[in-house]
Symmetry: C2
Subunit: 82 residues, 2 copies
């Protein structure tokens, strides 16, 4: 399995949960299908750059943050809403 | 035109030139077509995550660095070979 796809999936799930929204709600906001969001979160979809941009926009993060490995993305944890 | 595609194109070109290799050579190493690399550099291709990973691997950079805006990517300039 591709490393980049699992990184994207893990980051997407983490950012979505931070916002407290469901896959369904995220899918609606990003104008994508719920099952597509689920598949991306599981690292099963070879997501395109434009969809990365769409999802990042809804999540309110820079697109590159969806690609970072966990230990590379710790610098933006300060933004986290508790 | 999508912001993410032009960021990827600009970063790809910059990293490729840093390595001093042609589009043709990069395409060979990444097992992609030369015209595809050219189109990505011009921000014309909605590149997939797996191809971002392939190209980043050949360029010797983390995939997320291909997505960063220019002013966000200054921290890795120290790695640049002069």
């Amino acid at each position: 399995m591709s490393c980049i796809l699992s990184n994207i999936g893990n980051n997407l799930r983490a950012f979505r949960k931070r916002l407290g929204i469901s896959q369904e709600h995220l899918a609606e906001l990003a104008e994508l299908h719920r099952t597509y969001i689920g598949a991306v979160e599981r690292g099963e979809k070879n997501i395109s750059a434009k969809n990365i941009e769409k999802i990042a926009s809804v999540l309110g993060v820079e697109p590159y943050l969806l690609l970072k490995k966990k230990n590379q993305s710790s610098t933006h944890e300060n933004d986290e809403k508790k």
